[in-house]
């Protein structure tokens, strides 16, 4: 685990207010999800998950064909597909288009991919103003922070934080009533929507048989982003493809329920091209930017491909006992929680955050709630093994290996194992607050110290199970 990650974890654990905020917010989302997929309200929930998994698997395994079909249908309705390999290519395309059209102001709706590629910073460096319009994202943009949670980006901010940010950055009076803060954002952003030249959105789904972009949201900012400006650019990872519009009958039933517990989000937009003849409003130009940015690397391995099925609902974050304690910023990249732990090493390489796949108890709660049935614990195990193989190649982890050999040998010798157990309870370091948190001087050598630094142990019981068994 990197020291940076360590620091974030300890900061989060030590911040009582943040602990409470993350725990209650994720708890509420978790309960809402459970209620929305209960057998009496959604009897075919499990069948829908199976279908969603099968559809994603099929689409990813035939991705080239579906991208081709998507592009043909998009262009048939007057839209244009633009393929980009990485962050620089996306920024170049937008900058080029903005220059040609004389555009200066961009409004943006929520998109994780644009977080991935730091799009706002790249555009602002070239003199464009790019404004996030989702309330949570707007707050974070003003505070120069990244999203804390996939669906509740400003989860860690209180109304008092927002009051500070708004008065400092917008010059409005200090206001702590949430309704009034929301009204302020509405008023400021409404001006931006009506003045913007370009609207940039993400995409929840790309529908191959329609050439359409599907956007799911609650505030109406994505609708405004894609309706008011003259140009709409949707930016999407190539893995967002689903085969048919009719498959939305499956995905839409799962997405909002898994994310927030709503049966459907307030607004679902199915957008296929620019405005047509006779229409009074809507964009005149419509682009879909199809981004690789590392995705094709994940395609190579039939097991790892699964992480491309993700529909970004955030259910695994809310279910994860680790995320609920250490929060979003302990994760080193834009994606946090269990899905972040498998996406980050695959996108950034295993050495970027080698501790990440280990920051899990492998309890399986994430896999249980995943609406597209990604086998997250299995993926974590595979990534762990990759980290260890790399360690061995580079001659690291000798102590750990020796330790585990010793442990394996002990496990095969019951008598010695029992004796070692007794010794351990004799020499066990003292517990503080019911847990052993550190080892005393004598035992404080690197492997043991490193091990205990990241773990708390329960003190050994006064009598072992074996003893109790003998005396029963």
């Amino acid at each position: 685990m990197t020291s940076e990650m360590h620091r974030h974890i300890h900061e989060t654990l030590g911040d009582a207010r943040l602990q409470e905020a993350v725990y209650t917010a994720t708890g509420r989302l978790k309960e809402s999800r459970i209620a929305a997929v209960a057998p009496d309200v959604l009897p075919d929930y499990q069948e829908l998950r199976t279908q969603a998994h099968a559809l994603k698997k099929h689409a990813i395994e035939n991705l080239d064909a579906y991208l081709d079909e998507f592009e043909r249908n998009l262009e048939a309705h007057g839209g244009k597909a633009v393929y980009c390999q990485d962050a620089a290519e996306v920024a170049d395309f937008i900058l080029g288009l903005a220059r040609e059209r004389g555009a200066r102001l961009i409004v943006k709706s929520k998109s994780m991919l644009t977080e991935e590629i730091d799009l706002n910073e790249r555009l602002e460096k070239h003199g464009l103003e790019s404004v996030e319009t989702d309330l949570g994202e707007y707050i974070l943009q003003l505070a120069h922070e990244r999203p804390y949670h996939l669906v509740a980006p400003a989860l860690h901010k209180t109304r008092y934080d927002v009051a500070e940010i708004f008065s400092a950055r917008l010059g409005v009076p200090h206001e702590v009533v949430i309704e009034k803060q929301t009204a302020t954002a509405r008023a400021v952003l409404r001006e931006k929507f009506l003045a913007a030249d370009i609207g940039i959105s993400g995409a929840n789904f790309l529908v191959a048989d329609s050439g359409a972009v599907v956007l799911v949201e609650n505030e109406g900012n994505a609708r405004l982003t894609t309706s008011a400006p003259r140009i709409h650019i949707a930016i999407a990872g190539i893995e967002k493809i689903i085969p048919r519009a009719q498959d939305l009958a499956t995905f839409l039933k799962l997405l909002a329920r898994s994310a927030t517990g709503q049966w459907l989000s307030v607004y679902t937009s199915f957008l296929s091209g620019p405005r047509r003849a006779g229409e009074i409003d809507g964009p005149e130009e419509f682009y879909v930017v199809l981004v690789d940015n590392g995705r094709t690397r994940l395609l190579e391995d039939p097991d790892k491909r699964q992480s491309l099925y993700c529909i970004r609902c955030g259910a695994c974050l809310n279910a994860c006992p680790v995320y609920r304690k250490i929060g979003g910023y302990s994760f080193p990249w834009v994606y946090s929680g269990p899905i972040g732990s498998i996406l980050t090493p695959q996108f950034m390489g295993p050495s970027h955050a080698p501790g990440l796949p280990f920051a899990s108890s492998l309890c399986g709660a994430c896999a249980e709630v995943c609406p597209v049935k990604i086998d997250l614990p299995k993926a974590l195990l595979e990534l762990r093994s990759e980290v260890k193989i790399a360690d061995r190649r580079e001659g690291r982890g000798r102590w750990e290996k020796l330790g585990f050999r010793l442990f394996a040998w002990l496990m095969r010798h019951p008598r010695l194992y029992e004796m070692a157990g007794r010794m351990a309870s004799l020499f066990a370091p003292p517990a503080r607050g019911g847990w052993i948190r550190s080892v005393p001087g004598l035992m404080n050598f690197p492997p043991l110290k490193a091990w205990i630094d990241e773990r708390d142990l329960p003190p050994p019981p006064p009598r072992s199970f074996r003893e109790m068994w003998r005396r029963r």
């Binding site: 209650t24 075919d44 069948e47 099968a54 035939n62 991705l63 080239d64 064909a65 991208l67 081709d68 249908n73 309705h77 393929y83 980009c84 390999q85 290519e89 309330l135 949570g136 400003a154 989860l155 209180t158 109304r159 949430i178 803060q181 929301t182 954002a185 509405r186 409404r190 529908v207 329609s210 359409a212 609650n218 505030e219 109406g220 609708r223 309706s227 008011a228 085969p243 048919r244 519009a245 009958a249 499956t250 839409l252 039933k253 459907l264 989000s265 307030v266 607004y267 679902t268 937009s269 199915f270 957008l271 296929s272 229409e279 009074i280 409003d281 809507g282 094709t296 690397r297 395609l299």
Partner: protein
């Protein structure tokens, strides 16, 4: 070119040749429950109300007109060019602007109007959803910019749910450039998970079912 580079990487990673045949996709999963019209109407009204919208059923177009007249009294309203609104006589109501065909005028009016009045192409009974297909008859901004949205919908357009919608229009792109599903008033819970309505879209939504 990036297009070819990406598609080639995809094919190489998947071990597929260019233009290789695609196996059949898993069959579409559409399940339409048997429902009667009255139950669909009742469900739609209940769901809209559960989402903090207002929902009402009236017998005749004239009654719809009267309901809308009372709801917009003293306010400026913009109505869409939907033929059903004309059938109800809503464009003639006091304070209603209708028949707009120029974008700048539509924007200006929607930005200041207190109410946007539209019809809906379909409504979904099980989720309380309005389905709006944009067209010269239904502009996008009328259901989006004003702080309140009233939708006047003939009862015959109420479908059971998403499955029936996608069975009825399997290819929405063939009909419109934009299909929007509206389920309740605009909302956010981005600050401390406290629900606030009307953040960017209308904070008030009323559905009037006619017939």
């Amino acid at each position: 070119m990036s297009r070819d580079a990406i598609l080639n990487r995809v094919r190489t990673a998947l071990g597929r040749a260019a233009g290789a045949a695609t196996p059949e996709a898993p069959p579409v999963r559409i399940r339409i429950p048997e429902t009667i019209a009255d139950a669909r109407i009742a469900s739609l009204l209940t769901r809209v109300e559960a989402l903090a919208g207002e929902a009402v059923r009236v017998d005749t177009p004239a009654a719809a007109r009267a309901w809308v007249a009372a709801a917009i009294e003293g306010k400026q309203a913009v109505a869409s060019n939907a033929p059903f609104l004309a059938e109800c006589g809503i464009p003639e109501l006091a304070g209603v602007r209708c028949g707009l065909t120029v974008e700048s005028e539509l924007r200006g009016l929607c930005a200041v109007a207190g109410v946007g009045i539209t019809s809906a192409d379909y409504a979904l009974a099980d989720t309380g959803t309005l389905v709006m297909l944009s067209s010269p008859r239904e502009a996008r901004l009328i259901s989006l910019l004003p702080p309140a949205h009233i939708a006047v919908v003939p009862s015959g357009r109420i479908l059971s749910g998403l499955d029936e919608l996608f069975a009825t229009i399997p290819l929405p792109a063939g009909e419109t450039s934009s299909m929007v599903l509206i389920t309740g008033p605009s909302r956010t819970a981005d600050i401390e998970q406290i629900l606030v309505r009307g953040v960017h879209g209308p904070g008030k939504l009323a559905v009037v079912v006619v017939g």
